[in-house]
C-alpha cells in the first residue's frame, strides 16, 4: 500500500515538475523573445546611425567651402546645421524623443540640402500641434532624406517635399510627400523587405522599427507613381 502511494506521489510529482518546467521555460522563452526584439530594434537603430552618409557629408562640406568665400554668415549657419545633423544622428539612443526634436533634425538636414540645390528643392511643413508627441528617434528623418535623394535629386528641374503631421483622435499621422521621379512598380513590392545588398536601407529599417515598437498593424505605407512622386506615411498611436 505504502509503496503504491509512493508511486502515485512520484507520478504526481513528475507531472508537476514537468508542468512547472514547461511553464518556466515558456516564460524564459517569451522573455528572451522580448529581449531579442528590443535588442533587434536597438541594433537596427545603430545600423542606421552608423550610416555616416559620406556623400552627404563631403558634398555639404564642399557647399560650406563655397559659402566661406561668398557669404561667411551663411557658411557659419551651415556649419551649425551640419553639427546638429550629425549630433542627432550619433546620439540619443533613448527609446522615445519629442517629435519637435526629430523635426529640428530634419530641418538641419533640409537647410543644408537647400543650400546645395538652391531653388531645385522646396520643403514645406504642415504641422498640427505636436508638442506632446513622442517618437522613436530617426523615424521621420530617413523618409525625408529618401524623398530628397531618390525623389527630387534625380529630377533636373527639382521639386517639392511636403512634411505633414496631422492629429487624429487616437493617433498622429505622419506623411512625407514628394513630386519627384517616383518609384518603379517592380521595386515597390520589395522596398520594405530588408535586403543587406541594398545600398539604401532607410525605408525597410524604419518600417521594421515601427512594427517592432507599435505592433503589426503599424509600419510604413508607400504610394508611388513614376514621374509623379511618392507618398510615405505611418501612424503613431496616442499613448
Amino acid at each position: 500500500m505504502g509503496k503504491r502511494e509512493q508511486n502515485l506521489n512520484s507520478d504526481y510529482e513528475i507531472e508537476l515538475a514537468t508542468g512547472l518546467g514547461n511553464l518556466i521555460s515558456a516564460q524564459i522563452e517569451s522573455g528572451r523573445i522580448k529581449e531579442q526584439t528590443k535588442l533587434l530594434a536597438n541594433a537596427e537603430l545603430k545600423a542606421l546611425q552608423s550610416q555616416i552618409n559620406p556623400h552627404f557629408l563631403f558634398n555639404a562640406l564642399n557647399t560650406i567651402s563655397y559659402y566661406c568665400r561668398q557669404d561667411p554668415k551663411m557658411a557659419k549657419k551651415l556649419i551649425i546645421y551640419l553639427a546638429n545633423y550629425y549630433r542627432h544622428n550619433l546620439s540619443n539612443l533613448k527609446s522615445l524623443i519629442p517629435l519637435s526634436q526629430e523635426l529640428q533634425h530634419i530641418d538641419a538636414y533640409v537647410n543644408i540640402e537647400v543650400a546645395r540645390f538652391g531653388n531645385r528643392l522646396k520643403v514645406t511643413y504642415i504641422l498640427d500641434d505636436v508638442r506632446d508627441v513622442k517618437v522613436p528617434p530617426l523615424i521621420m528623418q530617413p523618409l525625408v532624406e529618401n524623398a530628397v535623394k531618390h525623389g527630387i535629386q534625380p529630377k533636373l528641374e527639382g521639386g517639392n517635399v511636403i512634411i505633414k503631421v496631422k492629429k487624429h483622435d487616437d493617433y498622429y499621422e505622419v506623411v512625407i510627400t514628394d513630386d519627384g521621379v517616383g518609384i518603379p512598380e517592380k521595386w515597390l513590392k520589395t522596398l520594405l523587405i530588408p535586403d543587406p545588398n541594398r545600398k539604401s536601407i532607410g525605408l525597410s529599417n524604419v518600417h521594421k522599427r515601427l512594427l517592432t515598437i507599435y505592433g503589426p498593424d503599424s509600419g510604413l505605407s508607400i504610394v508611388s507613381k513614376e514621374n509623379f512622386g511618392t507618398t510615405v506615411s505611418f501612424k503613431i498611436p496616442v499613448s
Binding site: P54, H55, F58, Y66, R69, F117, Q153, P154, L156
Partner: protein, 250 residues
C-alpha cells in the same frame, strides 16, 4: 597655354567653388558650366573643349555614362571626375578619366591636376588610354595608382618592386609605398610581361631589376632576396622554375 574648361555639376555652389579655384590657379579658361550631362554633351560636340570637370552623381545621365559617350566621339576632351565620395574611382579610370578629385576641393590638389594637364597637352598627344589601368592595348608608360586619397603616377619598370596577390587583390610594392588594386595578378602579368617583370609564384610577380640575391632553396627551387623586403619569402615555385632558370641561364 590656356585650357578651355567646362564644369559639369548639378550643384551650383560646387560649380562656383571649382570655377573660383581654377581661375585663381590660372592657365584655365572656364568657358561654361552645365548642371547636367546632356547639356554638356551638346556643348562638347559644338565647341573645342580641352578638359571637362565632371561630377559623377547627376540627374538625367551620370558622369560615368557621359564619360562613356564622350569616349566615342572624335578628339574627346580630357575628363577629370569630381565626387564627394570615392566609391567609383576604378570605374572612373576605366572610362578614361585622367584624374579624380574629391570634394571639398582644395587649391593645392587642383594645381596638381592643372599642371599635369598642361604637361600632357604640351609634350605628347594624349590618348584616353594613357592613364587607364585597365587597357588591353599596349601597356601604358606610367600607371595611376591610388595611395590613400592621392593618385600617384608610377613608372612600372623603375618604381614597382614586386606585386603580391593577397585576398583576391593585388598589392603593389613600389618605391612610393604599398598600394592595393582590385586587378588580378594574371592581368598584370599579361601587361608587363616583356617589361622586366617575371611571374615566379602563384602569388608573386617581381621586377627583375630589384632582385638583389638569388638563394638556392629547398627542392631545387630558389629564394629571391629584395632589399628592404628581406622578410618577404619570395620563392620561385616549381611551376615557374623552368622559365626562371632559362632567363638566368641557371
Amino acid at each position: 597655354m590656356t585650357l578651355k574648361t567646362l564644369i559639369v555639376d548639378d550643384e551650383f555652389p560646387a560649380r562656383q567653388e571649382l570655377r573660383c579655384i581654377l581661375e585663381d590657379i590660372g592657365n584655365v579658361e572656364v568657358i561654361g558650366e552645365c548642371n547636367n550631362g546632356l547639356d554638356a554633351l551638346n556643348i562638347i560636340r559644338k565647341d573645342k573643349i580641352d578638359v571637362v570637370f565632371l561630377d559623377i552623381e547627376m540627374p538625367l545621365i551620370s558622369g560615368l555614362s557621359l564619360a562613356k559617350q564622350l569616349s566615342e566621339i572624335d578628339n574627346p576632351p580630357k575628363i577629370v571626375f569630381t565626387t564627394g565620395f570615392s566609391e567609383f574611382a576604378l570605374d572612373a579610370f576605366e572610362l578614361g578619366g585622367i584624374d579624380y578629385i574629391l570634394k571639398p576641393y582644395t587649391q593645392e590638389r587642383l594645381e596638381i591636376t592643372i599642371s599635369r594637364l598642361i604637361k600632357k597637352s604640351g609634350v605628347v598627344k594624349t590618348t584616353r588610354d594613357t592613364f587607364s589601368v585597365n587597357s588591353n592595348k599596349s601597356a601604358p608608360a606610367k600607371i595611376a595608382l591610388w595611395s590613400n586619397d592621392r593618385l600617384l603616377l608610377i613608372d612600372p619598370e623603375k618604381e614597382i618592386i614586386f606585386l603580391k596577390a593577397e585576398n583576391r587583390k593585388t598589392k603593389v610594392f613600389t618605391q612610393k609605398g604599398t598600394m592595393e588594386i582590385a586587378l588580378p595578378l594574371k592581368e598584370w602579368e599579361k601587361r608587363f610581361k616583356n617589361r622586366g617583370f617575371m611571374r615566379v609564384h602563384k602569388s608573386y610577380i617581381v621586377n627583375i631589376a630589384f632582385i638583389k640575391e638569388v638563394v638556392p632553396w629547398f627542392n631545387d627551387t630558389y629564394l629571391l632576396k629584395i632589399n628592404e623586403y628581406l622578410d618577404e619569402e619570395i620563392v620561385v615555385s616549381r611551376h615557374y622554375l623552368p622559365g626562371f632558370k632559362k632567363a638566368f641561364q641557371l
